[in-house]
Symmetry: D3
Subunit: 132 residues, 6 copies
């Protein structure tokens, strides 16, 4: 079992990871929950990022590949899929690799899941081009 | 568009990739379908492996991470999840990385999906130990 | 087995329950199906409400908690989730309890399911505030 | 809206349809629920079969194709998939057509869903051969 | 195993089937992927239509019933469900049969899945009326 | 934001809640992960129970109703569904209420999900009778 640490440390570590992955200073996922379920926003930072994403056993880029696989296969979480397509690019995946990963979803979750995921990738790429 | 090729080439290329990933000379997924739906077995080899898995744009190890994410999140395809846990190890993932990848599923598809995926990992690791 | 009853009784009882849960005199779910699949609308009233929701063994508020759990976890039925967030409030849940219930979905179906469900809750609460 | 009818008529009509589809005099789905949730068993007969399956607008064989598509794609309801593979054969589908239908699931829900569905078909065909 | 054939033959055969099913000369599913994942578009034509949909063992209309069952039950692929509602009509289903098939989904995947699928059917029917 | 606390407090609080819900001194979910993914076991205790389940805004019994709804609707997490059927009874639900809650799943996720959930309830009730 890890050494006890202050809860604040988890939040700080998670926020930093989330900022890095998203490129956002004030991550939208947290602000969008602030007036409805702020504790869920906190759990995402502390647990999702502070405890899981920042574990040393898997590279950030690898974690994004796992996440793209999960979200594209589930096919019911469009905002999060877009977020993590962006995150995968920020974590070092090329656009071609993201396209490859999502194309592969056709084999495991069917063509509709892959097609819809790639339409989200198209939108994310266009947003990034517009911002560049 | 790729150059036309003989269908036999796709099958050969796919079979080789499937044999390499599974460590099986006669892949079980093909033999288990032989007397009920041999063409589905052929599609898996020709399309799943001959066309998708062998594309150059993503490393085999990366493809396995995407696949683990997809199958663990769906949570309804135990034989395939076990197959690809094994495949991930054969493609260069360490056991610790597989555990990390499946643990992360808790964030995206819930704890039950992660717990059940890790029980499959435990079984696959034990089988490999027994064979070694 | 229950005593036989006229089909019309089931419809009347179900409509009353649906009106009460939704606060609508002409429930939208029925009117929205009227010109495409009126019998599905009838089944919802007769079976979903007239036979299931009005059974005595579980309080209406409890039934809404089960339904919120189901719809938030499935994550693919936004209109129905919104309807039942509203229904939960009409059946006696506080807003804080709805938020608590949907937050808990993160544990069982992952953070994306919980986040998206809570965005729907935010929208429903805003609509109710606007109507008030 | 249809004419009111006695609830007993729905049960009788549904039971007859269920018996015909399953080839069972005492359908297992009803008996297996008798000591835990007999009313769910009754709903299956009255609503599922008495109201939906016996509607005139779609042939029994066509209904089974829709059902095979739904259950194979969901991939989480093995007993019901086996039941309806059997039902499809009893409703006039050939074994080859069942195999074709389930193979097609690979396109819409991925190869694992199709592979697992076809293993169930293999088991159902073997049971029927053993009984013959 | 089928005779080897040139890959181009698969594409031609698949495109023809897809054109026939969709009524589109340049199928949208292919053009919408052209600038993001053209190979996925090619796989849909070659594999989905050239290899699966054009197999002789099941009538096009029957294949559409299976597909409607799968997509309506999954409930997370709205564009594809609309496409195949249209395809079912082009393959010989009547509107009443499509409504019947989607209504039946309530039994196997719940009322929300059926309601949402029928709203898509309503939209597709309206588009066809507007085009007529 | 809550006051920072030592991580150990979360674990202790969570373990106590998990012990109470399960009736197990050494909860199986933790011990079953000990040799494969002990940190996932720790996350379940610290986060799932120490942070979510023990929040004051919803009664334990209510949380179990939400969880039963989620797990029965997902239909792909049998061990967890059995665990939480047991937990619901330990948290104050009667058997009749559990049956009612799972029966209601037929409306939102289809009859197969409800039937399979109730077979799990039957098994859990029998285990409890055997232990009594």
């Amino acid at each position: 079992m890890e050494q006890p640490e202050q809860q604040g440390e988890r939040y700080e570590r998670g926020l930093k990871a989330l900022q890095h992955l998203s490129g956002e200073t004030d991550p939208t996922v947290v602000t969008s929950l602030a007036d409805i379920a702020p504790d869920l926003g906190r759990f995402i930072v502390e647990f999702g990022y502070g405890e899981v994403h920042t574990r040393p056993g898997l590279e950030p880029r690898d974690r994004q590949l796992v996440t793209l696989g999960a979200l594209a296969a589930l096919g019911n979480a469009a905002p999060q899929l877009r977020f993590h397509i962006n995150g995968a690019l920020n974590a070092g995946c090329t656009r071609a690799e993201v396209v490859e990963a999502l194309t592969q979803i056709a084999v495991y979750a069917g063509f509709p899941a892959a097609i819809n995921a790639l339409q989200h990738a198209k939108a994310v790429f266009a947003e990034r081009d517009a911002e560049a």
